[in-house]
Amino acid sequence: MRASLLRNGKVLFGVVVLGFFVLLALFGPMVLSALGLDARANDISAIAAPPSPEHPLGTTQFGQDVLAQVIEGARGSMFVGFLGAAIGTAIAIVVGVPAGYFGGTTGNLLNFVTNIFLVMPVLPLIFVVAGYLQGTGLVMIAIIIGVFGWAGGARTLRAQAMSVRNRDFVQAMRMLGEPHRRLIFVEVLPHLYGWIASMFLGGLIGAVMAEAGLAFLGVSDSSAISWGTMIQAAQQQSAVLRGLWWWFVPPGLCIALVGTAAALINFGVDELANPKLRAASRRVAKRTESVRREAAVAERA
């Protein structure tokens, strides 16, 4: 299964791109010092300059090198992305699995809370909370994102946990007197790993985008650099009206690439896991075509 996972074009592309950005996030500062770049240094001679050999992605209104900022920003955005996704997934597991496993009053209560969070438009709420919290670090942002974004995952996990719980083998073990905790961790949870992984990837996209969105709206760590803060700074300085496209295009592109990579991985895995989707994949279609071509009979499709 793992081999075919990597043979799937979508998954491969996604893993490569995502891996690239993870590496960039991890080793960003080293890359920057190796290249002799500094994301915060102001080059007075090149204010709002378009891309050039000295500044491959141009400079900002403050003379800061955009490429350096993008690399530094990778760390900020990916950090919030992973932490936010981790927090969100963790909460989703803690709420969703017991909701599905236990059912009854506990389950209904947890489900109700989940639905409330699902249905509530989160953004205005975040505003209100963030507005009261003057000044926030990246960790706080990640926490906010995780705390407001777990509901979708919890819902999925609840449905899946319910179906696993109703399977015969779990019922049998209950009758044998297995304690709940053991059942959940040893029997039910392993079946959900796939869903959890997919949820984490989805959460990653969401958190990176959420961070960017929040930064764009001014809810961010003012001293940190992330792709979101870059776009926000660009907007503040009316980059659009001044035609400084190189300031906001690269960070947005990076967000889009990370998002696409994670989505493609999910898509590819979906394809492998779901036989109906697999039968409809390009690879199967091509194989069928070649068999059809070599056939003795021309069946007109």
Binding site: A279, A280, V284, A285, R287, A296, E299, R300
Partner: protein, 347 residues
């Protein structure tokens, strides 16, 4: 490849009143698998006569379901028909057509009016968001444009009445009916446009024994009334012994025996058929030890050379492992087994 001796004089194409409804020759279906094409159906040939009930029996993986989808051209990737022809002769004369190479547009004209299908799980076979009657009305009006909606609904209610479903249920949704009712409804649906052939893919597998009998009785009754032929696919030989005129036994994608059902029961020629027959208890016989067939069905990707049944056959000899037996006629029946080869029988 196959040496089929025509069992009836070859009827000229366009001969009205020709006995043969469907002429299948060398039908081969392959699945495009990751490590090469797998033959699910290999070189299947038989004749289907008008009004006949032909049973097709086999274990899972025998190719019987693939045969159905190939006959009715309802295949999906990765299944492809790679060889053979399925020649259909219309009842009022007119040219015979090969269903395999027919254009989709003409094929659609034949669908339901000549050839219909009953699927295994009626629960999934009916559109859950459309009323039952509507599912009759759309096919009736598709094939007869002059039919008004009111007339079509009337006909739908009448058809449902044929299988014992009251007219007021026509406006129900599928989920509001019981399992047995749904299955009967799909049978009524299959007869909506008076087809000449109804293909049934394990229609009784998902229902209880009592419902099974009712459905079979209904099929027989309707067949007497309307005169359509039936290809009935199942894994349950005992069912076919009562229902079918002739039975085709399939193994590893091939037909290994084809004979009248009474002959199959009384004197099966192929060791596999013998094994099948001996593996269920007859109702009136004394209680005795049941014989199964040892071993498991073969992996179609790794078929042995020679007869595919040889590894499990109690009577296999050297020739069986090297040479694939062809389906050979012996009077009114055919069998693919070296044991019955006139040469071998003599020696």
């Amino acid at each position: 490849m196959t040496m089929i001796q025509e069992r009836r004089p070859d009827a000229a194409a366009g001969d009205a009143g020709s006995d043969v409804l469907l002429e299948v020759r060398g039908l081969t279906v392959e699945y495009a698998g990751p490590s090469g094409a797998v033959r699910a159906c290999a070189d299947v040939s038989f004749d289907l006569h008008r009004g006949e009930i032909l049973g097709v029996v086999g274990e899972s993986g025998s190719g019987k379901s693939t045969l159905i989808t190939a006959l009715t051209r309802l295949q999906r990737p990765p299944a492809v028909t790679t060889a053979g022809r399925v020649v259909y002769r219309p009842r009022e004369g007119g040219p015979a057509v090969d269903l395999v190479t027919l254009s989709p547009r003409r094929l659609r004209g034949l669908r339901w009016t000549r050839l219909s299908i009953v699927l295994q799980s009626a629960m999934d076979a009916l559109n859950p968001v459309t009323r039952l009657g509507e599912q009759f009305v759309d096919v009736l009006r598709t094939h007869d444009r002059s039919l008004s909606r009111a007339a079509a609904w009337e006909e739908a209610r009448r058809l449902l009445g044929l299988v014992g479903i009251s007219a007021d249920r026509a406006r129900s949704f599928p989920h509001e009916l019981s399992g047995g009712m749904r299955q009967r409804a799909t049978i009524a649906l299959a007869l909506a446009c008076r087809p000449e052939l109804v293909v049934m893919d394990e229609p009784t597998t998902a229902v209880d024994v009592v419902m099974q009998r009712q459905i079979l009785a209904q099929v027989l009754r309707l067949r007497r009334e309307f005169g359509f032929a039936v290809v009935f696919v199942t894994h349950d030989l005992s069912l076919l012994l009562e229902l079918a005129d002739r039975i085709a036994v399939m193994y590893a994608g091939r037909i290994v025996e084809l004979a009248a059902s009474r002959e199959i029961y009384r004197a099966p020629l192929h060791p596999y058929t013998q094994g099948l027959r001996d593996s269920f208890p007859p109702l009136h016989a004394p209680v005795e030890r049941l014989e199964g067939i040892p071993g498991t069905p073969p992996d179609l990707r790794l078929l042995p050379a020679g007869c595919p049944f040889a590894p499990r056959c109690p009577h296999a000899f050297d020739r069986c492992r090297t040479e694939q037996p062809a389906l050979v006629d012996h009077g009114e029946r055919s069998v693919a087994c070296h044991l019955r080869d006139p040469e071998e029988v003599r020696s």
